[in-house]
């Protein structure tokens, strides 16, 4: 029987300090066979294990294309916020850690084919969405218009600015950025991300929205999109809960009847709409 709890060894190849508290670790599984077998869909996550400290679920930023062309680096963008992540972000190139995954259901790329895709993210919610944008760009002709909307609390929190500027230059692609608090060099929207949704080129018949970020932001965005004419079924969002096993056994990530780790993290909005605004779930 396969042991679903056992991590694989990986090595930090590169460490990128994105902001004072956000670090991207680029990882390579040390076993070539494991590297060869590894495949993930955009929106899935890995459990990263720091020796002697513990495990945390972190979304996989790399798109599937990187595995197909055998560069095989697993990019994980981590915010130092808890016991494990504060130590994890200190790892330097050459350091070893454990990886198990990928887990969960990713973004609905099949349903997105032939449709306009609107990706709306807040804060570090952009990390699980980057892989899907990469995938949409890689198979550009399969999709309609693409919009990428990202909101941050403070203008200084925006990471991957070059990436957004690059996407903004692509055909049929709209990039909208918002910061609640701007700084001197901020040339985009000041305010909440929901304030940008009116600017979307929204063809309500052939659109699909993918949301990732803090729950109040996702809820407000989803409800605004519905006001703008989308049906709830056209909206997908990525949820987060305490995850310790990642395989639906430990019980911590339950959200109503769903185990976020295996039934999600990406859910169709109608499945979570009722409970999303209820405190304590």
């Amino acid at each position: 029987m396969i042991n679903p709890y056992l991590p694989l060894e990986a090595e930090v190849v590169e460490r990128i300090q994105e902001t004072p508290s956000i670090v991207t670790l680029r990882l390579r599984l040390t076993d070539p066979d494991a590297r060869h077998r590894f495949y993930c869909a955009p929106g899935q996550f890995n459990m990263l294990y720091l020796y002697g400290v513990g495990e945390v679920p972190i979304s996989i930023k790399s798109g599937p294309q990187s595995f197909l062309d055998q560069t095989l680096l697993l990019d994980h963008t981590i915010r130092a916020v808890g016991r494990v992540t504060r130590a994890l972000v200190k790892l330097e190139p050459g350091a070893k850690l454990g990886v198990r995954g990928p887990y969960g259901r990713g973004w609905p790329l099949n349903q997105a084919q032939g449709k306009d895709v609107h990706i709306i993210t807040g804060g570090l919610g952009c990390a699980p969405a980057v892989s899907v944008v990469h995938e949409l760009m890689r198979q550009r002709s399969r999709y309609g218009r693409i919009s990428v909307v990202q909101g941050v609390k403070h203008a200084d929190d925006l990471i991957w600015r070059d990436q957004y500027e690059h996407w903004a230059k692509q055909p049929d692609t709209q990039v909208l950025l918002a910061a609640d608090q701007a700084n001197a060099s901020w040339r985009w929207h000041t305010g909440m991300v929901t304030g940008l949704l009116d600017q979307l080129h929204l063809d309500t018949e052939r659109s699909l929205a993918m949301l990732c970020g803090p729950e109040p932001m996702m809820r407000a965005s989803a409800e605004r999109l519905i006001e703008l004419g989308l049906r709830p079924e056209q909206i997908w969002l990525s949820m987060e809960r305490n995850m310790q096993c990642a395989i639906g056994h430990c019980g911590h990530c339950q959200f109503g009847a769903a185990f976020v780790c295996k039934d999600g993290p990406v859910f169709n909005y109608p499945a979570v709409r009722e409970l999303l605004g209820t405190r304590g779930f």
Partner: protein
């Protein structure tokens, strides 16, 4: 039902001897510290002969009687769940090599055959639920190995406690399935039926004699009387819809005034599956053990996420436990997560009875509070 063969009470030891001869560790109920616990046994003398039980909200007491019976009580705080889902166990261990590399090794699985004598109908139903949870999408190798080695000998209940409500959940007092062998207890001995091939083979090796039809009819009617004597019951209706339609019911706050958020209910519950994973590094730092341990939705850490505790208040924790156990279990595993054993009532230090809370929360249908 045809009259099963009969094992006279003075020959019960032969069942235990046969199991031990076959290489099983025999686990059976015994009195420990004023409660009935399931522990290793080799003699019928260790069984709780003549023990009667009084259970009520926040109360559990044993009494000695002159009864020749060994199973004239309902249950103890714990039965067979720890035999498959260990309260604490190693999942894997890791080593840090001198070159900085890491090696991971899976923990050995337990394979020692274990026969449990005296399994109750509620606990068999709970085991079937735990099987679904741990052996479906991602089979758990540790649970699976422990489960595979179990031989289960049920004893149908004849003495419900005041806290029992297995009749209303449809799980007892007579065990329906999930056992290898089952026993109907009388003052004179046991009617024995097989529920599996392994049980059938064991049955044929016991010194049985033909059973008396009238005595068997009386034995079965005792299980029916045990059902009729039950005072607690689950409210009728679609509890999932009723609970999720009453998420803002004032009773959540009312129960939180009494609830200590201690988690006793979840620790004695035979279906609760939550567990935490913990890292236990050696003092030298050269090796580390990754363990899991039973957790509870009443602990602050259960809903922790990136610096936030989602369920800070007892009301939200109690609501999580009740809406899950009696509500979302239906969607997850096709039935309620409650088997009516009543342990959560007896072992709650303040005597909260979830069936009473459910009755209040669900009595007016779905409010528009959700």
């Amino acid at each position: 039902m045809e009259t099963p063969d009969f094992l006279p009470i003075e020959r019960l030891q032969s069942l235990i001897d046969t199991l031990i001869d076959d290489g099983f560790r025999c686990v059976a109920p015994q009195v420990r510290d004023g409660a009935i616990l399931y522990e290793t046994l080799d003699s019928v003398k260790q069984l709780p002969k003549g023990i009667a039980q009084e259970q009520s909200n926040g109360r559990y007491r044993l009494q000695d009687t002159d009864s020749p019976r060994n199973f004239a009580w309902a249950n103890g705080p714990q039965a067979i769940k720890p035999l498959t889902f260990a309260p604490r166990e190693e999942l894997w261990y890791g080593e840090l090599k001198s070159d900085g590399s890491l090696k991971f090794y899976q923990a050995p699985t337990e394979t020692e055959p274990v026969a449990v004598l005296g399994v109750r109908a509620c606990d068999l139903a709970a085991l079937a639920l735990q099987d679904q949870h741990f052996q479906s999408t991602f089979p758990d190798p540790y649970y699976a190995a422990r489960r595979k080695r179990l031989l289960l000998i049920a004893v149908h209940c004849t003495h419900s406690a005041a806290t029992c409500f297995c009749h209303s959940t449809g799980d007892g007092p007579e065990a329906q399935s999930g056992y290898d062998l089952s026993l109907y207890e009388t003052d004179l001995g046991y009617f024995v039926t097989a529920g599996s091939l392994a049980g059938e083979m064991l049955l044929h090796r016991l010194p049985l004699e033909p059973g008396d039809a009238a005595l068997f009819a009386a034995a079965r009617s005792e299980t029916r009387q045990a059902a009729e004597s039950q005072q607690c019951q689950l409210p009728q209706g679609d509890l999932q819809t009723l609970l999720f339609g009453n998420l803002n019911h004032p009773q959540w706050e009312a129960v939180a005034e009494r609830c200590l958020s201690c988690g006793n209910c979840t620790q004695v519950c035979p279906t609760c599956f939550c567990h935490s994973e913990n890292e236990v590094p050696s003092i030298s730092g050269q090796s580390t053990t990754h363990e899991r341990q039973w957790d509870s939705c009443f602990s602050p850490g259960h809903s922790y996420i990136h610096g936030i505790t989602l369920r800070k208040e007892t009301a939200s924790r109690y609501r999580q436990w009740l809406t899950h156990k009696f509500g979302s279990w239906h969607e997850q595993y096709g039935r309620s997560g409650c088997v009516g054993c009543g342990r959560c009532i007896s072992w709650c230090p303040v005597g909260i009875d979830p069936t009473e809370e459910l009755a209040i929360i669900c009595k007016d249908g779905t409010g528009d509070s959700a």
